[in-house]
């Protein structure tokens, strides 16, 4: 990219990709913004003209809005905590030399390859079903009453299902980070008198800082728009209605495209607020 000619050639070559990507992003975004200002009821008269900020007002004043926001944050937050904590521990474990390491590593990654709908169905029907699920059998074995997981501990169950799927992802990234740690640093710390816990706290954990940041950022982006797991298991009932799910209900169940689009715009704003906080808190890890 040294000369003027090569620079303009580069721009020309990149242009189609850039235009396509911009269109890919901008068309849905502008359509969402456009519909959010319209009164659009597909089964009750179609597009009924401009609505001003009415959709925005109604979406926020609905009694389901704030619970949906808090549910979203609770689910995202708990999944992040579970996956990062267990991910670090699992990565430490998998970093140890043991027989069959290669196979175990592949098996650990496996849950991430299961489609969200499938994994949620498996959890719902095979494990959490109050009459036929494995958990129910286990509970009965010890003489306890089976728990109806998805209605009695709904948020926890959904978190469990999602965390099960994302834990391998976190483990994989953290494992590669641990493997890149210079073993002489650990030996130096050992010579300096640091015990196993101190080596973890002073050497390994700071080394993992950047990888943990990346795990948190990527997972947050995907977890904010989690949908299949909720749709398949509780259908948004029992306090598991996230913002994404609320928008889905407004558009498809209430057949109100305008209201749903306004919700979509709120979701974008929420995602940006979360991203801003994350960048503030953990983003500095990416500099050094």
């Amino acid at each position: 990219m040294a000369t003027k000619a090569s620079r303009s050639a580069a721009r020309l070559m990149m242009a189609p990709a850039v235009v396509l990507l911009m269109a890919w992003m901008l068309v849905p975004l502008s359509m969402t913004v456009w519909f959010s200002f319209r009164k659009y009821l597909p089964l009750r008269g179609g597009d009924l003209g401009f609505a001003g900020f009415e959709n925005y007002g109604r979406f926020v004043s609905s009694s389901s809005f704030w619970p949906a926001v808090s549910t979203t944050l609770i689910i995202v937050g708990s999944v992040l905590v579970i996956t990062v904590v267990l991910g670090v521990l699992l990565a430490l474990l998998l970093d140890q030399p043991f027989w069959g390491q290669g196979v175990v590593r592949i098996l650990i990654i496996a849950p991430f390859f299961v489609m969200p709908t499938v994994s949620a169905l498996v959890w719902k029907n095979m494990f959490m079903d109050p009459t036929n699920g494995l958990f129910a059998h286990l509970w009965r074995l010890f003489g306890a009453d089976p728990v109806a997981w998805l209605s009695e501990a709904s948020t926890g169950s959904v978190v469990l299902i999602i965390a099960w799927r994302w834990l391998p992802f976190a483990t994989l990234i953290l494992l590669t980070a641990i493997q890149s740690l210079d073993s002489e640093q650990l030996e130096a710390a050992e010579m300096d008198g640091a015990g196993p816990l101190q080596r973890f706290g002073h050497i390994i954990l700071p080394h993992l800082g950047r990888a943990i940041t990346i795990v948190i950022l990527i997972q947050t982006i995907f977890l904010l728009s989690i949908f299949a797991e909720i749709f398949v298991t509780t259908g948004g009932a029992f306090g598991t209605r996230t913002l994404t799910y609320l928008i889905f209900q407004r558009v498809l169940e209430s057949q109100n495209v305008g209201l749903g689009s306004a919700g979509g715009v709120y979701a974008i704003i929420l995602a940006n607020i979360v991203a801003l906080f994350l960048m503030r808190i953990v983003g500095k890890n990416l500099d050094a």
């Binding site: 640093q185 030996e187 130096a188 710390a189 050992e190 300096d192 640091a194 101190q198 080394h207």
Partner: protein
């Protein structure tokens, strides 16, 4: 205090024995250098002393007390690694204070010792920077600083200068020797560079394939190499080893003549040869002479000004008093 004693120490990785039974005593305050070609087990030996590897059989004693099963931290030794192994997320100050913090020393004492180490090693200007912002030589100093604050019984250096450029290496060499004089503590230094070994050591341990070939002061090793390996390894440029009929004339299987113990002439001498490549160092010139029976090329060291050029005929005369003779097993004939 820092006397280290190895008794019948062996080390095996699986079925491969890298250190055959080995005895060695390192006296308190001595600067000992382990030297040998790469893969000779010198770093493994250092790691055994440090406790970073378990010995397979035998005993290690530090200051007379058995340390064989002791964890590294309890042995009272400090190590400087080849990669320096500084903690990248900590400032220089915190790096140096780390071993003291691990020892749960009180804050005032830590500050005092860190300040003293910084003073000795001239770290003042970059004490609050991170290792990533330092040059190789500065990192080296920090690594040494982290070792000296603990006031260890002995220092272990694992090829500490191999990542530095030539000029810096000579400078750091002097600093480490200066430090040894100042602290008067036992130091064990591992290197593959025989020049480093010769210049720094009180005592050199020459290793090959895990075996100790010879232990002695630099001059002892230079003047009386115990076998052919030590003769070829110590000294730069290498000793010329001559086999065959020329050696038989001196009742030996191999004779060794150092380049600096050979007289060069254009008219007369014991052997005749053709001049090959010349290495001009300014003060000295190393000439490679071809055609000497039993040794090709023969290296000779001569003064800076040489009248000979490539292809000329030259005559060589070895100094008979400084000739080394070795038998069929490669051992020195006294």
């Amino acid at each position: 205090m820092g006397q280290i004693e190895l008794k019948q120490v062996t080390k095996s990785f699986g079925d491969v024995q890298v250190i055959p039974p080995l005895d060695l005593t390192i006296e308190d305050g001595e600067f000992t250098v382990f030297v040998g070609p790469s893969g000779c087990g010198k770093s493994t030996l250092l790691r055994l002393i440090a406790g970073l590897e378990d010995i397979t059989t035998g005993h290690i004693a530090i200051d007379g007390t058995d340390a064989t099963g002791l964890v590294p931290a309890k042995r009272g030794l400090a190590m400087v690694f080849q990669s320096y192994a500084l903690y990248p997320h900590m400032s220089v100050r915190k790096n140096i204070a780390f071993p003291l913090r691990m020892a749960k020393m009180d804050k005032a004492e830590i500050d005092k010792r860190v300040a003293a180490a910084a003073e000795v090693l001239n770290l003042g200007d970059y004490i609050d920077r991170r290792p990533g912002q330092l040059s190789g030589g500065q990192r080296q100093r920090v690594a040494i600083g982290r070792a000296i604050v603990r006031e260890p019984a002995a220092f272990l250096f694992d090829e500490p200068l191999s990542n530095l450029d030539a000029a810096l290496r000579v400078g750091m060499r002097m600093e480490i020797m200066e430090l040894h004089k100042k602290l008067d503590t036992t130091m064990i230094y591992v290197t593959h560079d025989q020049v480093e070994a010769m210049t720094m050591a009180d005592k050199i341990v020459v290793l090959q394939a895990g075996n100790i070939e010879q232990v002695g002061s630099p001059l002892e090793l230079y003047q009386h190499p115990r076998n052919k390996f030590v003769a070829g390894f110590i000294g730069s440029p290498r000793m010329n080893l001559i086999e065959g009929p020329e050696a038989a004339k001196h009742d030996a299987t191999t004779i060794g003549i150092r380049p600096e113990h050979t007289r060069l002439s254009t008219t007369e001498g014991t052997w005749q040869g053709t001049v090959g490549v010349a290495e001009h160092l300014g003060s000295d010139t190393f000439l490679h002479i071809h055609g000497i029976p039993g040794c090709d090329p023969f290296t000779v060291r001569t003064g800076g000004e040489v009248a000979l050029s490539h292809g000329d005929t030259a005559f060589l005369t070895p100094d008979p008093d400084k000739m080394h003779r070795f038998d069929a097993q490669g051992l020195r004939i006294a």
